[in-house]
C-alpha cells in the first residue's frame, strides 16, 4: 500500500433527510498517516458524512473517496478501512468472540484473528460472554476490535469515546496514538474538541453540514493567538504602554491587578515592562483556549470572517 491509498477526499457532499439538510456541500481532505479530528456540534452532520464515505448512505450530490476510490468500489474493503459507526450494533445473544468470528469468516481472516483483536482491546476475559451483558465501554472496545480485524491502514471512528469513563478515554487515546504511530490514517469524530485535542494533528470542523475550518491543530491555536496573563502593582501604566506599542484595547482584559492580553508573546510583555520600569509580580503564557475557538467557529452568530475561511491542509 502506498501513502496515497489512505487519502480521504470528500467533495461537494450533500444529503437531505426530508427537510433537514444534514450535509450541505461538504468538501475536505484527510491526508494519510495522520490523526484527523472530525469535529462539529450535535447534528452538524458528522455521522451522515461518515456513512456516506462508507457507502451506507447514498449522497444526493458529491463524492467521497478513500485512496481515490469510492468505498463500495474497494476490493476487500475491510482489509483497507476499519470503521466504528455505532457502539451498540451487536446481536445481544452472540458472544463478543462469536461476533468477531462471524466477520472474520466473511472477510476470510483466520479464526485466530478474533482472539488477537480481543486481546488488543483488552476484552480477552469477556470474549465468551454474550454481548447483552457488556457495559457501554466494553461495547466500544468490541466495536473497535471489529474495525481492527482486517488490520486496516485507514480507521474511521465515529465518537469512539462516547460513553467511556476518563480511564477508558485515556486508554482509547493511547491505543489510537499507537495505531497511528504504526502508519495508519485515523479519522475520528467528536462533538467536543477537548476530547481529541491531545490526540489529533489535524482538524476538520463542520457546522450545519458545511466545513468551517480545516488544517493543522496548531493553526487553529494560532487563530486565537497567544495569550499572556500578567500581574503588576501598576496595571494602568502597563495597559497604556501595551496600547502604545500597538495592542488593541479590546484584546486586554483587566481583573483587579491582573491583565490578560491576547495576540502577544510573553517575552514581549516582559521586555516592555522592563523598558517602562513597571514591576511585574507574575507573568504567564496561557495555553491557547481551543475550546473557545471551536465554539466561536461552530456558533452561528459568533462567526467572524477570519475564522470561517477554509484553508488547505
Amino acid at each position: 500500500m502506498t501513502d496515497q491509498d489512505g487519502r480521504i477526499v470528500v467533495s461537494g457532499l450533500a444529503k437531505t433527510f426530508g427537510t433537514v439538510k444534514a450535509v450541505d456541500g461538504l468538501t475536505f481532505t484527510v491526508e494519510p498517516g495522520s490523526i484527523t479530528g472530525f469535529l462539529g456540534p450535535n447534528g452538524a452532520g458528522k455521522t451522515t458524512t461518515l456513512r456516506m464515505l462508507l457507502g451506507l448512505v447514498r449522497p444526493d450530490a458529491g463524492t467521497a473517496t478513500i485512496g481515490g476510490r469510492a468505498y463500495t468500489d474497494l476490493p476487500a474493503p475491510s482489509d483497507r478501512v476499519g470503521a466504528v459507526l455505532e457502539a451498540t450494533a451487536f446481536h445481544p445473544a452472540r458472544t463478543g468472540r462469536a461476533h468477531l468470528r462471524i466477520y472474520s469468516t466473511i472477510n476470510g481472516y483466520p479464526g485466530t484473528r478474533a482472539d488477537e483483536v480481543l486481546e488488543l482491546v483488552g476484552l480477552s476475559g469477556a470474549g465468551r460472554r454474550a454481548v447483552r451483558g457488556y457495559s457501554l465501554g466494553m461495547r466500544q472496545r468490541l466495536a473497535l476490535a471489529t474495525a481492527l480485524l482486517g488490520d486496516p491502514k485507514v480507521l474511521v471512528l465515529d465518537e469512539p469515546a462516547n460513553g467511556l469513563d476518563p480511564e477508558g478515554i485515556a486508554w482509547m487515546r493511547r491505543l489510537l496514538r499507537d495505531l497511528a504511530a504504526q502508519g495508519r490514517a485515523v479519522l475520528v469524530s467528536s462533538h467536543v474538541l477537548s476530547e481529541v485535542q491531545q490526540l489529533v494533528d489535524h482538524v476538520v470542523i463542520i457546522n450545519r453540514g458545511r466545513c468551517v475550518r480545516q488544517g493543522p491543530l496548531t493553526a487553529l491555536a494560532d487563530l486565537h493567538g497567544p495569550v499572556v496573563s500578567v500581574r503588576t502593582p501598576d496595571p494602568d501604566r502597563l495597559q497604556t504602554a501595551l496600547i502604545r506599542i500597538g495592542v488593541d484595547e479590546d484584546r486586554i482584559t483587566r481583573t483587579g491587578d491582573q491583565l490578560r492580553v491576547t495576540g502577544i508573546q510573553a517575552d514581549d510583555v516582559g521586555q516592555l515592562a522592563f523598558a517602562e520600569q513597571i514591576p511585574v509580580l507574575w507573568l504567564a503564557a496561557e495555553q491557547s483556549d481551543l475550546e473557545q475557538v471551536f465554539f466561536a467557529l461552530t456558533t452561528d452568530n459568533g462567526q467572524q470572517p477570519a475564522l470561517t475561511a477554509t484553508t488547505g491542509a
Partner: protein, 254 residues
C-alpha cells in the same frame, strides 16, 4: 460468496433459535401425521383414505405444511435481526454490495429449508411406516407418487425460506415482518380459502400453491397441479426477493 454463506451459517448457529424452530417443525409434523392417521377412517375427514395414493401423498405433505411457516419465520428473523440489532452496518461495511449479502442469505436459508424438510419427512416416515403397517395398509416409500411428494415438499419449504428472506429485506421491521407473516398464513389465508366464491382465485395464493406443490388432496378444496403450484410459488419468491434486494440496495443504512 462461499465466505459469505459460511458467515451466514455462523450467524445462524451462534444462537439456538434454529434448533427450537426445527424441533417445533418436527413436533407439528408429528401432530399433523398422527391426527391424519388417527382420523383416517372418520367419514367426516377431508382427506382421502390412506390406502389411496392421494391419501398417502397428503400424509407425507404434512412435513412441508409444518416446516414451511416456521422456516419462513426463521429466515425473516435472520435478516430483520440485522436491522433490529443494527449489525446491518457492520455487515454492509464488510460487503458493500448488498445484493451479495442477500444472495448469501437466500442460499443459506434455502439450504436450511432443505434440512428442515428432510428432518420433517423423516418424522412422517418414522410415524407412518409402523402405524400403517399395524393397520395393514400397504405403504411403499418408492411408490404411489411419494417421491414426487417429498421432492415437492422439499422445494416448497425451500421456497418459503426464500420468501422469508425477501420479505425481511423488504420490510426490515422484525416484529412487523414475523407477525404479518403469521397472521397472513394462519388467519387471512385461512379465511380467504374458506370462501367458496373465491375458490378460482385463492388457489393462486402462496398457501394453496404450497399445498398443490406438495401433492395435498382435500375433499373440500381444489388445488392447482403440482407443477403449477411450484411455478406460482416460485413467482412469488422471485418477485419478493427481487423487490427486497432492490430496496436493500437503495435504502440508506442510518
Amino acid at each position: 460468496m462461499r465466505r459469505l454463506i459460511a458467515g451466514e451459517f455462523h450467524k445462524l448457529l451462534a444462537t439456538r433459535l434454529w434448533l427450537w424452530l426445527l424441533l417445533g417443525s418436527m413436533a407439528i409434523t408429528a401432530l399433523y401425521t398422527s391426527l391424519q392417521i388417527a382420523f383416517s377412517d372418520d367419514p367426516d375427514t377431508w382427506t382421502l383414505p390412506l390406502s389411496t395414493a392421494d391419501g398417502q401423498q397428503t400424509l407425507f405433505a404434512a412435513a412441508a405444511s409444518a416446516a414451511s411457516p416456521l422456516v419462513a419465520v426463521l429466515a425473516a428473523i435472520g435478516i430483520t435481526a440485522e436491522y433490529r440489532h443494527r449489525t446491518a452496518t457492520t455487515t454492509f461495511l464488510a460487503t458493500p454490495h448488498r445484493g451479495r449479502v442477500i444472495a448469501a442469505k437466500l442460499i443459506t436459508y434455502g439450504l436450511v429449508g432443505i434440512g428442515y424438510a428432510l428432518a420433517c419427512i423423516a418424522v412422517v416416515t418414522a410415524i407412518a411406516v409402523p402405524w400403517l403397517s399395524a393397520k395393514n395398509v400397504d405403504l411403499s416409500l418408492a411408490g404411489n407418487g411419494l417421491p414426487a411428494t417429498m421432492a415437492g415438499g422439499i422445494a416448497a419449504v425451500t421456497l418459503y425460506a426464500l420468501i422469508g428472506v425477501g420479505l425481511g429485506a423488504l420490510l426490515r421491521e422484525q416484529v412487523a415482518t414475523v407477525v404479518g407473516l403469521l397472521i397472513y398464513l394462519f388467519v387471512i389465508e385461512a379465511i380467504l380459502t374458506n370462501i367458496p366464491a373465491l375458490d378460482a382465485w385463492t388457489r393462486y395464493l402462496p398457501g394453496p400453491a404450497d399445498n398443490a406443490l406438495t401433492g395435498i388432496t382435500l375433499t373440500n378444496q381444489q388445488f392447482l397441479q403440482p407443477w403449477q403450484g411450484g411455478l406460482v410459488l416460485t413467482t412469488y419468491c422471485v418477485l419478493i426477493a427481487a423487490a427486497g434486494t432492490y430496496l436493500a440496495n437503495r435504502r440508506d443504512v442510518t
